[in-house]
Symmetry: C2
Subunit: 83 residues, 2 copies
């Protein structure tokens, strides 16, 4: 069992209204010093067996076809822990 994490974030040139809403709320709550907030998605995928390069390639394909919209989002795939 191992966990692979896919992080999906809006591309830098894409407006991010959720992130902007958070950023706007922070000063009202007394938090300062934050210059930007971007909000995206995080998927924790539990893999049966070992995480090989082939598995990573499969997860990259999942990220591209199902988990993200490549027109407006970037994704990164990382292995979090082998058990």
């Amino acid at each position: 069992m191992a966990r692979v994490v896919v992080a999906v974030m809006p591309k830098p040139e894409i407006l991010d209204p959720q992130g902007k809403a958070v950023q706007g709320a922070l000063p009202r709550l007394g938090f300062t010093g934050v210059t930007d907030v971007r909000q995206g998605k995080r998927f924790e995928i539990e893999i049966d067996g070992e995480v090989t390069d082939a598995v990573i390639a499969e997860v990259e394909k999942m990220a591209e076809t199902l988990l993200s919209n490549p027109v407006i989002e970037n994704y990164t795939v990382s292995v979090e822990g082998q058990q």
Copy 2:
């Protein structure tokens, strides 16, 4: 400038319909070997200045009061890069 990342995930005992929908779609798309999928949120917070322990404590407070619902979600705070 530095980036602090807050990951917000549904607690293990909480049902996660979004994650289940992704998990259900994977075999239909030809992906096998995935035993569980959980979907959460990821916030990338750009901090003005250096990330000190005080800044981390501030971000933890943000995560608890604004970015997550502590009843149903867990969060983790990590520093991604100092520039």
